[in-house]
Point group: C2
Chain length 249, copies 2
């Protein structure tokens, strides 16, 4: 198993010459895959499976798994290994509720402490999001990872001026969880939803300093997304579907 390292060729996003460790590399890739909903099939996550998939030894893989478990993306039981956190309707509801609480506070603080610099970043984030394609051009049934990145960046830009990196971190964590649900339930295309319009309204009200209006728009945005997820995944998602596939061996 040759260690196929990705150093030497600097990725465009990694301008800092910081050489990453294997543990961090596995962490990043596995995290992306988790958020992409790429491996929701298996409930259990054997370390040997991760080792063979990402081409690293057991030690860095275990370090990555420990980080993800501490973040709440994975679960862990002593002497029983790691597993993907289960999903459920009640958990989605609780998640959305918590998210609304925190984001409302973050939004209001962000508006109260806005600066010109922050406004420009917000405009920029909205512009980039509007330019990106929602789905992959070659396959309109799958989400565009680039759009997901920009979407997350936009929502982070909204609360960037709230003045608490703790609150920003918590919102990020909840955002990760939410996108996991969104991508598991494969948000249906073209359900008559004007996504970019929703985002634009939120941004405009933010820029106008209309805190109440922005909060209302944002919470509706979250609740609508959650409702669509809930519906689709209450009727369509079968947690045992993946296990059948895993049995082939």
């Amino acid at each position: 198993m040759g260690a196929r390292l990705t150093n030497g060729i600097a990725l465009p996003g990694e301008g800092k010459g910081a050489k990453s460790t294997l543990a961090s590399s596995v962490y990043q890739q596995l995290r992306d895959d988790l958020l992409r909903g790429a491996l929701e099939a298996e409930s259990k996550l054997r370390v040997e499976w991760v080792v063979s998939r990402y081409g690293a030894g057991a030690s860095p893989v275990r370090e990555a798994l420990n980080r993800l478990a501490a973040e709440g993306l994975l679960g862990r039981h002593d002497q029983r290994g790691f597993f993907l956190m289960p999903v459920s309707a009640t958990e989605l509801e609780e998640l959305t509720r918590t998210r609304c609480w925190l984001e409302e506070r973050a939004l209001r603080e962000s508006i109260a402490h806005r600066t010109a610099e922050w406004e420009e970043q917000l405009v920029l984030a909205l512009h980039r999001l509007a330019r990106a394609e929602r789905r992959l051009p070659e396959d309109p049934t799958t989400n565009n990872p680039e759009w997901e990145k920009l979407h997350r960046a936009f929502h982070r830009a909204l609360i960037a001026a709230c003045g608490s990196h703790w609150l920003i971190g918590f919102c990020d964590q909840l955002s990760d969880q939410a996108s996991r649900y969104r991508l598991i339930s494969q948000n249906a295309p073209g359900t008559g939803r004007d996504e970019i319009g929703e985002h634009r309204i939120i941004a405009e009200r933010m820029l106008d300093g209309d805190a109440d209006g922005a909060v209302e728009a944002l919470l509706n945005h979250y609740r609508l997304t959650a409702a669509m997820c809930m519906e689709r995944f209450a009727q369509g998602y079968d947690p045992k579907a993946g296990l059948a596939k895993a049995r082939r061996r």
Copy 2:
């Protein structure tokens, strides 16, 4: 944590029941020591030092360190190891502010969804806290670890009925950070503060369903603690003190 293990090798010398995994044991002990402010001297945390102190190999120690870093109690730089998160006045201010935001929401929700069971738990937590000694009987200058446990349990009981384990987890995280500051700056004894009285007032207003009053009492409680910490640690704590000691060699 009531996992009674059928571990034949009792090894009573260790005291701590190293029941499950070494990584979890090191995690628990190191976390306790961090919150106790027991090792704030050195800024850097060499894994070999942890290995020799807690008697485990490098692998479980690294797993424990990764968990703590993901929780925000430690910092980490690739290829540069782990370090204790620095403390500062601005960080304490930001922490306190964030904590007030989250705890206010949690408190209001907890009151709104209170049950008889929850009320009883709260009464119990207050009673236990009132019974415990604030300082160690044999050495009145150091805090009583038992009191710290009960104090944390009381504050968690306040928000236990808020209906979101996410929010509870975030509040716990902030509570950990806050107690780190409190114990670093060695909260002064006998500054005329009626601690048990403050806690009792909060609990009484909670039980009365007086949300506004409870919130006011709780936030004042946090802000007073923070102010005392801030004062003592702005004038008394020198972050370079530990480094100077480290240079002797």
